[in-house]
């Protein structure tokens, strides 16, 4: 089964990670017995874990009576849901029309090279996840990228790389 295969592969990538499904108690209480809950349930689950771990599918399916295959269908249909853990910083490079005509690809290329990850991937140290998004809606500042809540506008590839380097430096100074 496709679910099994993909999820097993993912878990090998993150050794020693055990998911505490107890965190789902609130979600289950809130949505139990209601209709049209699949998307909000998955959204709240992702808010808790940062992604959708395999164990959460199993527990949610059991306790809320959701069909496992429907859940997987929804989780893979919508762009928002992730089946693997993400880095501490999510870099979202806007590829809307306005950013595209102002060379957003150059930013993604530069970041891919610096971070040594493909679009959608996470760096080995778990620090950054690089993503392309459709439109952040700051078209007048194109090209744009967003890291956390901070938006960086009118970028070049070089400036984007600089932002990443600064975050790296800052992180290293933080006590562990």
């Amino acid at each position: 089964m496709r679910v099994e295969r993909i999820i097993n592969k993912r878990q090998e990538l993150v050794p020693g990670q055990n998911t505490d499904t107890g965190l789902l108690d609130g979600v289950i209480r809130k949505y139990s017995g209601k209709r049209g809950i699949m998307i909000p349930v998955l959204q709240e689950t992702q808010k808790i874990y940062g992604y959708l771990p395999r164990e959460t599918f199993l527990r949610l399916s059991e306790e809320l009576g959701l069909n496992l295959s429907d859940m997987y269908g929804v989780a893979t249909f919508y762009a928002q849901f992730r089946l693997s853990p993400v880095g501490r910083h999510i870099i979202r490079v806007c590829h809307g029309t306005a950013c595209h005509v102002q060379n957003a690809q150059g930013i993604t290329d530069a970041l891919e090279e610096t971070l040594k990850v493909a679009d959608g991937g996470t760096t080995d140290d778990g620090m950054f996840t690089l993503e392309s998004v459709a439109c952040l809606g700051c078209c007048s500042l194109a090209p744009v990228m967003m890291i956390g809540d901070e938006t960086y506008g009118k970028l070049t590839g070089k400036e984007a790389v600089k932002v990443i380097k600064n975050i790296r430096i800052k992180e290293k100074k933080l006590p562990i």
Binding site: R35, G36, I37, M38, I39, P40, L42, Q43, D70, G73, V74, F77, Y78, A79, Q80, F81, H95, G96, T97, A98, H100, V101, Q102, V133, A134, C135, L136, G137, C138, C139, S140, L141, A142, V144, T151, G153, G157, K158
Partner: protein, 584 residues
């Protein structure tokens, strides 16, 4: 003597430009120095290209300051607020004299955006002070018959602003005619179209107008509850909707007879389509369904459902208050009223504008938008996003109304208007949109799922210099078949960008295919990088940065690029400090 007011624009675009820091700075200074003025927030006024914006209103007049950072904010307070001495060089607009930017506002007619940038969206009282909820109160007080509400909306000539252009009054009538104890009104705020942000600005800037419009629609169609389906990518809009709904409940505009809930979309472009949206609200994959039955008969939970777009709803309270005739005064015979456009791309004054229908593209691009930056030439506008098409510069006199725009092969769409100049490659733009639709196709219809993928492959091939002579004919053939064999709007319109670019820019396709040349110099694989011998100083920077070691040359001697090894990555061009790399 009125107290001076300082208003900071805190829409998403303003925040991205740093308005949050400006607001904090002003707030902390006001507290620290105990300054006497009223500080408030508002949302986007549409002038995104000048963000962050700060307004100062004092007894002498209204001043709009643009491009404000923390330092300038301090200067503003010290000079203008404390000493009544306006800081002229940062004034963008004022009611005292004309500035180059005055035109931006003067040519607009703000109906849907009437409150955006004028009120604090998180304060219902400011909405009420500008006539908000008056229309609703009158309808309730006078116990207006649903049929008369529908007649008023029909008479106004308002058509669906989400893109389809279906007459709103007629849609309401269909839902009204289907009797049921359970009926729904849905607000489509799933603005997935890349390059469009008017719904976001409206929800962030004036959420109550959308709520009021929905409540009126609820009364007109005898609906029992409302749902707003909003993109999760719009956190600020979601937050402000939440606040607005809470405030509207406190004042009993919402509550026992009709309540509104918000559903967060999870990111799928196809959910802009009515039946897909309903499926998503029900919690499933957003797959469109066959129509009929239309949602007006069997929609959410199989009950009669009326779906309108954010901008459509925002127009309703104004129409009910000012009357259908007043609204119909604007626009053209068949396209009444105004339309909001999001101006972006290669344009000086990017932002949000609301203009009467029938205004020409040229007026929007050059009048409001201020033309093309640099000394570049205007080439085309892309209207309607991935479902729309490109309108070339020589058709810039086309009036913007549903019929005229459709005649060019583009569609009005939700109102994203991306301007392109001579450096934009039209084949690459077609590839960009196809890449988007191919990825967003839900996969239900074969032609949409596989056909868009095949078209994309051909377009990629053309932009990479491996185009074949028969490719244009294959693209046209596929385009026709996808349009005919797809169930929903996504597939039916997905080929539009390709069809219009072939129609208007066939020569560019031919240059790519026959001469392996990109006239706009945008398709990287078709470029040739060469060293300009007169400028090369032999500094070796290009050779050291070349990822494939295609550049050779001794220090202080002219360098040479081996075209067989070169991957056209363009790094040497970016790194060279002496303008010695030529692109041909």
């Amino acid at each position: 003597m009125g107290q001076t007011r300082v208003i900071v624009g805190l829409g998403s675009c303003g925040l991205a430009a740093g308005a949050g820091k400006v607001y904090e700075k002003i707030r902390s200074l006001k507290e620290a120095e105990d300054l006497d003025f009223k500080l408030s927030k508002t949302s986007c006024s549409g002038m995104c290209y000048r963000e962050p914006l700060v307004e100062v209103v004092d007894e002498t007049g209204w001043y709009l300051y643009g491009g404000i950072n923390e330092d300038i904010a301090v200067e503003l307070l010290n000079s203008h607020v404390a000493n009544n001495n306006p800081v002229k060089e940062h004034i963008v607009c004022t009611d005292l004299y004309d500035t180059p930017d005055s035109r931006f506002f003067r040519q607009q007619v703000k109906i849907a955006l009437r409150n955006c940038g004028r009120i604090d969206p998180e304060n219902i009282m400011e909405y009420e002070a500008r006539g908000g909820y008056e229309a609703l109160k009158r309808i309730i007080d006078e116990n207006t018959d649903p049929r008369s509400i529908i007649r008023e909306v029909t008479d106004s000539g308002l058509r669906g602003r989400g893109g389809g252009g279906f007459p709103t009054g007629l849609k309401w009538k269909y839902t009204f005619n289907h009797k049921s104890t359970e009926k729904y009104v849905i607000c489509n705020a799933d603005e997935g179209d890349p390059g469009a942000f008017m719904d976001r600005s409206l929800l962030e800037g004036d959420p109550h107008s959308v709520l009021e419009g929905m409540i009126i629609a609820g009364l007109a169609t005898e609906a029992t509850s409302g749902v707003i389906y909003c993109r999760a990518e719009y956190p600020l809009a979601l937050k402000r909707l939440d606040i607005a709904i809470r405030q509207a409940r406190e004042r009993n505009y919402l509550g026992k007879d009709f309540d509104i809930s918000v559903k967060e979309g999870a990111g799928a472009f196809v959910c802009g389509e009515e039946t897909a949206l309903i499926s998503s609200v029900e919690g499933y994959r957003g797959m469109p369904a066959k129509r009929p039955p239309f949602p007006a008969e069997s929609g959410l939970w199989k009950k009669p459902t009326n779906i309108n777009n954010v901008e459509t709803f925002a127009n309703i309270p104004w129409i009910m208050r000012q009357g259908a005739a007043e609204y119909a005064r604007y626009g053209t015979e068949k396209s009444r009223g105004t339309k909001v456009f999001a101006l972006a791309g290669k344009i000086r004054h990017g932002g949000l504008v609301e203009v009467p229908m029938g205004i020409t593209i040229k007026d929007i691009v050059f009048g409001l938008g201020g033309g093309i930056p640099g000394d570049k030439t205007f080439k085309a506008v892309q209207l309607g996003g991935p479902s729309g098409g490109c309108i070339p510069a020589w058709l810039a006199d086309t009036p913007v109304d549903y019929e005229s725009v459709n005649a060019t092969g583009a569609i009005m769409g939700s109102g994203g208007l991306v301007v392109m100049d001579e450096t934009t490659c039209m084949v690459d733009i077609a590839r960009f949109f196809l890449d988007f639709t191919a990825r967003e196709s839900c996969g239900k219809c074969t032609f949409c799922r596989i056909g868009t993928m095949r078209m994309l492959e051909i377009l990629v091939r053309i932009t990479e210099g491996s185009g074949r002579e028969e490719d244009i004919a294959i693209l046209e053939d596929l385009a026709g078949q996808i349009k005919e064999s797809s169930l929903c709007g996504l597939g039916q319109t997905a080929p539009n960008p390709v069809i219009t670019t072939i129609r208007y820019f066939r020569d560019e396709y031919e240059a790519h295919i026959n001469q392996k040349r990109c006239p706009a110099k945008a398709c990287k694989k078709l470029l040739r990088y060469e060293v300009d011998e007169s400028n090369c100083t032999g500094c070796t920077v290009c050779a050291r940065n070349c990822p494939v070691s295609a550049i050779s040359g001794e220090r202080k001697e002219i360098h040479y690029i081996d075209q067989d090894i070169c991957t056209r990555c363009g790094i040497c061009y970016l790194k060279c400090r002496f303008d010695a790399i030529m692109v041909t």
